[in-house]
């Protein structure tokens, strides 16, 4: 259950590992196929299916892993924005002067000395 939860949350990283394993298996199968025959014309299909497809899976694994990092960074940006929003809420609630005299047209954030 714990692994399923992890796999659901980190599906891209789990997919990357799976794609890596599949890629290496396909590469090994391609190698086995080419080593079984001494005719180049019979080795070419293995080169395409085993070699290229294996590399494709490895590339997919790399892309999935990097995209997982990008998703993490994206979530982090959202969390930062939420934190800023919460702080602004707290500041506005703490501000007891919602009205000001004529000419006091400075935004609240700009008049807060604590911000330096």
């Amino acid at each position: 259950v714990e692994f399923l939860r992890f796999a659901r949350l980190q599906w891209d990283r789990v997919g990357a590992v799976l794609a890596l394993v599949v890629g290496f298996v396909v590469l090994l199968l391609g190698y086995a196929g080419t080593s079984d025959t001494e005719f180049v014309a019979e080795q070419v299909p293995y080169l395409i299916s085993g070699g290229l497809m294996g590399l494709f899976f490895v590339a997919i694994a790399a892309v999935l892993w990097i995209s997982a990092d990008q998703r993490d960074e994206w979530r982090e940006l959202r969390n930062l924005a939420d934190a800023v929003r919460q702080e602004q809420l707290a500041r506005q609630e703490a501000a007891s002067v919602p009205w000001s005299r004529t000419g006091a047209d400075q935004p609240i954030a700009q008049t807060d000395d604590r911000l330096g």
Binding site: A41, I48, F56, A59, E73, W74, L77, L89, A104, D105
Partner: protein, 196 residues
């Protein structure tokens, strides 16, 4: 108008509008801090960096690459001569190029969106927390009193050279520096290290 707290742009700021008291016309509502021209920030709403168009285009390129590779595998496996397989090999390489193109497009689109979001967040935060930047005092403002240094016998120069230095200047280390008199200093230029 989107207020400062309305980062998500959904109008949920958590604060209520304060009615303007009619009794005092001199009172005007203080405008809340804003996030610029009420932009709709994508990083606040989207769950992933990629847009649908990015995913579709990348999937098309990757799919073409995979299908092309499989077709080339099928075609090459039906040939018995290497000379007849060359075309299929080239086709497989072209398919691999399409595949790589799709993957690269997917990654670069993600990096671009994340960078844009980081830039937008920086803009938002800097507009919420403006800071006044005070320039560091220029060294030109701090005029060096050469006369007092001259009186204190602090200025030295290497005979034949054009620059005058303080006695402890690192550029004078190991050199045969001699004190500079009032008559000679007009022929010298202040050192850019110790007298700048």
């Amino acid at each position: 108008m989107m207020s400062a707290l309305d980062l998500r742009g959904d109008g949920a700021t958590g604060t209520a509008e304060v009615p303007r008291p009619d009794a005092d016309p001199g009172l005007v509502p203080a405008p809340p801090a804003r996030l610029g021209p009420a932009p709709q920030r994508r990083y606040l709403t989207a769950s992933s960096p990629w847009r649908v168009g990015h995913v579709v285009r990348a999937a098309v390129l990757v799919g073409l690459g995979l299908v092309g590779t499989l077709a080339c595998y099928y075609g090459s496996s039906r040939e018995v001569l290497l000379a007849d397989q060359v075309g299929w090999i080239l086709g497989a390489l072209a398919s691999a190029a399409l595949f790589c193109l799709g993957m690269t497009f997917y990654l670069t689109a993600g990096f671009r969106e994340v960078r844009r979001a980081a830039r937008e967040l920086t803009d938002d935060v800097s507009s919420l927390y403006p800071r006044s930047v005070t320039a560091a005092p220029s060294r030109a403002d701090e005029a060096i009193d050469l006369t007092s240094l001259l009186d204190a016998d602090e200025l030295v120069a290497v005979p034949g050279m054009t620059r005058v230095h303080r006695r402890g200047c690192p550029l004078m280390r190991g050199k045969n520096a001699e004190p500079v008199g009032v008559a000679e200093i007009v022929n010298h230029v202040p050192c850019g290290v110790c007298l700048a």
